[in-house]
């Protein structure tokens, strides 16, 4: 049980002297509160696994500190940190039974046999592994094996945080849901800090109460799923979260107006102090753009196709060179393939050099 603080933490596989641009994990300072369910979300190679391995102690960071409940544990080895980690591919000890697998971490730490048996029985019950305790672990299914890896972490009563490194990659889709709900249930029951690395936004958004989005070695936003959806702090977050992702358009912003190719789009807030020379873009989620019949004053677009997702239809349109997605209301058709775009001003965000700019009211 611990709060985890990262203080100016960074890691480079090329050593500390490498240029900062090449760092796998760029300096980050943040706090993971005790008992939180976190997801580290980002595409492959964004540094999320590096961050996880730094926390678990498999990698020693090039700089910065990690604090568990305020205590600096950066120099401590993995064994000394009370961390459990579940890997992408199930790690089980082939020659042992399920029960022996679960007992392994305790045996290594010299726990008395009676205590081991009690803990193993307890964790076996918690993870529904009871019927298998005396069976060879190699004979089990991938999801049962992942449960064993998890169990080997949970069996230690002192465990501070459980780290998951894309644990559902090798699990069959229908079992993924089961295992994920099991994880959520465990989280509620055990009050453990859980950090879950994934590149799958659905997994992240359903598992976590706080999602940490990483991009190119940087933490670009950390917030609830709703925050990530409503107010992406970075154009990458806007694009990565949501399906289809946020529309990002280069624009000229003056006061409460954004200009795109001679058309004006109204904004809810006023942006007077935009940094000069920065790349200015507006971002708006497809859910808040509507295709309507072309009309004066509306941005004109060419419709390329309309995707029917059942509950909702999205039109893929083109404005000049830019491609956008927009909501197509039921019954909308376009005879000549042209349409007007209606923006919801309260959901149009302005980005300077990819970062969200808060306008003045």
């Amino acid at each position: 049980m611990a709060r985890i603080d990262l203080v100016d933490l960074a890691h480079s596989y090329g050593g500390n002297d490498a240029p900062q641009e090449s760092f796998a994990l760029k300096p980050v300072t943040m706090t993971w509160r005790q008992g939180g369910a976190y997801a580290l979300l980002g595409p492959s190679g964004c540094g999320k696994t590096t961050l996880l391995n730094v926390i678990s102690g498999i990698i020693t960071p090039s700089r910065g500190k990690i604090l568990f409940d305020g205590k600096d544990i950066t120099p401590l080895s993995t064994q000394k940190r009370n961390i459990a980690q579940v890997f992408q591919f199930p790690v089980i000890y082939d020659t042992m039974t399920v029960g022996q697998n679960l007992a392994f971490p305790l045996k290594n730490r010299g726990v008395p046999k009676a205590d081991i048996d009690r803990r193993v029985a307890e964790i076996g019950r918690l993870l529904d592994l009871e019927p298998y305790l005396n069976r060879k672990a190699t004979r089990l299914t991938a999801d049962a094996k992942q449960k064993i890896s998890l169990g080997r972490g949970l069996v230690r009563s002192d465990v501070a945080a459980v780290l998951f490194d894309e644990p559902l990659t090798v699990i069959d889709p229908e079992l993924k849901w089961q295992l994920r709900s099991k994880l959520k249930a465990l989280h509620r029951e055990l009050d453990l800090t859980m950090i879950y690395v994934t590149h799958d936004q659905t997994e992240a958004l359903t598992f976590a109460d706080t999602v940490v989005v990483m991009h190119d070695g940087r933490v670009v936003q950390s917030g609830t799923p709703a925050e990530l959806f409503d107010k992406p702090a970075h154009t990458f977050v806007g694009y990565f979260i949501g399906s289809p992702g946020m529309n990002i358009l280069p624009a000229e912003v003056r006061g409460r107006e954004a200009w795109i190719g001679g058309h004006v789009i109204a904004l809810n807030r006023s942006y007077d102090n935009l940094p000069s020379g920065a790349k200015i873009e507006i971002g708006v989620r497809p859910e808040f753009v509507e295709v309507v019949a072309p009309a004066p004053g509306l941005l004109t677009a060419r419709i390329e196709r309309i995707d029917d997702l059942g509950r909702i239809r999205f039109a893929r349109v083109r404005v000049g060179d830019a491609k956008l997605a927009a909501r197509a209301p039921g019954g909308f058709t376009s005879a000549d393939g042209s349409a007007g775009l209606k923006f919801d001003p309260s959901h149009v965000h302005v980005y300077a050099d990819s970062l969200l700019v808060e306008g003045a009211a």
Binding site: N53, F89, V91, R109, A142, D200, F240
Partner: protein, 324 residues
Amino acid sequence: MDKTVNQKAWFLVLPVFLVVAFSAVLPLMTVVNYSMQDTFGNNQFFWNGVGWFKELLDPSTDLGGRFLASLGRNLFFSLVILAIEVPLGIVVALSMPREGWTVAACLIILALPLLIPWNVVGTIWQIFGRPDIGLLGYTLNAIGIDYNYVANEFDAWVTVIVMDVWHWTSLVALLCYAGLKSIPEAYYQAAQIDGASRWAVFKAIQLPKMNRVLLIAVLLRFMDSFMIYTEPFVVTGGGPGNSTTFVSIELVKIALGQFDLGKAAALSLVYNLIILIVCWIFYTVMTNAGVERKIQASSEPAVEPKPSAALKPMPALKPKEGVA
């Protein structure tokens, strides 16, 4: 499905039949033929039935005594070198670096003894061990150890065993190294998190993951050492006395030295049979281990389709089109 009947196809397999017949079947049958007969030269043969085989398995006769004694020596030799080479090979593989240029250097050094022809290995050790001019023999005698592999049985055995260990431990080490390399990094990381000691890591992860290659290593080393001829023949010539005369050396003595074709033929058939049986036992053990795995995989419907798939890193799924 109906099979097309085309008798011309026989002509296409005929060359294979001929080659196999002349290279394997006919020579083997000649040996079988000889093993039932006796000859005193002049290409005159006399029927002897299973007489040679009876003699071969009877320790009170000259032939049987020599055969069983050499067989005993041979089995002892195989056991000794297995007992040394397998643990030593594992230790060497475990202490090898896992990445960097030193890997290549280690692999080259390990591979060198394997590339040397048998009789050259024999010659190297024959000279190396000589008390008058050999570096090893001279040094040992100079520091007061009375070492002479030509005169002393124990020294001869030590020389032959050390030579085999020098020549073949690399093979075991390379096989084990390959087995070790195939263990995913996550296993070590998990063991680290589980607080496993070095010994626990070896017992719980490395040894179980190496058992397949170890089985192959034991098979290869057993067969090779059981058939060993050249190296001890070059170094000790089977001596002193008969102390390092292994089965193959005895066989050559009977066949070419005494020109007792019948006895030699019977001996080679039995020798061959022993090797076949041992191979078959190993093969059965190995395939059974494989079958067991397959049954494990198919007995439960939800088990991953390929047992090995869990070990291979899968290509990462693309998060979403266009995100780069």
